[in-house]
Amino acid sequence: MLALNLVLKPEFFAIRYQNGHLAGSLIDILNFGAPLAIVAVGMTLVIATRGIDLSVGSVVAISGAMACLTISRGADQQSVGLVLSAVALALLLSAALGLWNGLLVAAAGIQPIIATLILMVAGRGIAQLITSGQIITLNSKPYGFIGAGWLLALPFSMYLAAAVFLFAVLVTRKTSLGLFIESIGSNPAAGRLAGIGAGTIVPAVYMFCAFCAGIAGLIISSNVSSADGNNAGLWIELDAILAVVIGGTSLAGGRFSLSGTLVGALLIQTLTTTIYMLGVPPEITLVVKAFVVLAVCLIQSPAFRRSLAHGFRPGTAASRQEVTRHG
């Protein structure tokens, strides 16, 4: 299903070599899709625990703001040491925010949607505080490399996304963490009685998600060499959640698929880039996007597929589900 979408847009397959690196629409997708992919990977694990993180957009903004503030205050903006310490500070802050979310959910028992909503709302304000309400612009080559740099003719941000993805896959599949996440997401009560320590796993997962948002924030702000507390990462949480869902992970938690999420993120980015390339007016962009996502979700829904096969009879799908569940 997903491959079909790519095939329908043949004009994309032109890749040029210019300025010492590859260029073209496909490369744009990889480049601009990297932050989304990274956030979506973090979001996958949170959703797998039957949670959700609405605050990633704000963390993106905060992370970029923190890094840019640190660099702008430094003596020499070209200093690699300064950039590295700015990056470290931003990521540390992101992880701390993730811990905040995780503790609200695990220790205080607040519903994830509410808990992360707090930071989602407050976060933009925090980002503004950090930048003192201005858009901080930088002139730093080392910092610019994160989002706009090239390595071996491909965007550096793509390597970052690959690294995050591989890290997540290794940690969840090579250790027993993946099994635990799927267990507590699928049946929290049973997981607890089986001796799984959700009190550690849940905060860890939210920390990782915010850390991913932090990395994405660095890429995004580095790309434009500035920090915009209001617009950085706007609505990225929705795209990330969509990527996870399209990728096959259920919002109810349990089994998750990181590679599915990656495909979902690429799909959404392809969509965004296509719409842009076709010159569709921005007002229509979101509507078209929503429509395509709706189509993909319908195709994935077993109930919908059954309705197509047996002819449209409202109520059939629902009653059929009832029968199979009690059987």
């Binding site: 635990f180 267990s183 699928s186 049946n187 997981g191 607890r192 009685l193």
Partner: protein
């Protein structure tokens, strides 16, 4: 001979009145009583699934506070809950994953059992307990109630517990599987495992247990041992006569 587990005036407000209970190595203690009499509450306290408000608990003579199932598991206690679907098995996962879950949880994040080892272990118990269909990668939701109970049992047997708490292990299960499970309980106790056996079927409790504690209205009212364990005696205790 001091018992392996000794509960002294252990209680939880709104759940179960303070009770004394002792379970020795290789002993099968049964809990009899009507629905809502506090049997499951007793079990959950002994497993750390609920926290006790009062009283003390001793394991192998040492006082312990069981704050969580994790702690109880570490001390060698296992628990098959009454609601196997909602609190026991994880339907979405495979037989193999359900089997090794408690053992893996005890081992932690990093000492992951290899896929091969998992299949070995799961295969062992599938054969030993006669789980059908014998496919370790089958989703547990597709198994019958009896087989799901066996998968749950296998999970806990894998942890080699000193005390196994079974809450309604034969409810909703066909006669053949029921007998298998009762036989299993006997062989486990012969090997030295203590068992706390909860069942609504008086006959079953009588047949299986060495000692029976009778509950009424969230209180342990009487304990009967050996020859005193008779249907009439238990029913009288339940009725309060």
């Amino acid at each position: 001979m001091s018992p392996w587990l000794q509960a002294a005036k252990l209680g939880r407000r709104g759940g179960i009145e303070p009770f004394d209970l002792a379970i020795g190595k290789g002993e099968i203690v049964g809990l009899a009583g009507l629905l809502g009499s506090g049997r499951t509450e007793t079990a959950r306290l002994l497993f750390g699934a609920d926290r006790a408000d009062e009283g003390r608990l001793f394991i192998e003579g040492r006082e312990t506070r069981l704050d969580s199932p994790r702690k109880a598991i570490r001390r060698g206690i296992a628990f098959c809950p009454e609601n196997r679907k909602t609190e026991g098995i994880i339907e979405e996962l495979t037989v193999r994953e359900n089997n090794i879950l408690a053992l893996q949880a005890r081992r932690g994040w990093f000492r992951a059992l290899s896929r091969k080892r998992q299949e070995e272990i799961a295969g062992e118990y599938i054969r030993a307990l006669g789980i059908r269909p014998p496919d370790p990668d089958q989703l547990v939701r597709n198994l019958s109630g009896g087989n799901q109970q066996k998968v749950l049992l296998a999970r806990w047997l894998l942890t080699e517990p000193k005390l196994l708490i079974l809450d309604e292990p034969t409810r909703g299960i066909d006669v053949g599987a029921k007998a298998e499970i009762q036989k299993l309980v006997h062989s486990l106790s012969e090997k030295g495992m203590g068992v706390l056996f909860i069942s609504s079927e008086l006959e079953e409790v009588i047949r299986v247990s060495n000692r029976v504690s009778v509950l009424r209205d969230r209180r342990h009212v009487q304990t009967l041992a050996d020859d005193d364990i008779r249907q009439t005696a238990i029913m009288q205790a339940i009725a309060g006569g």
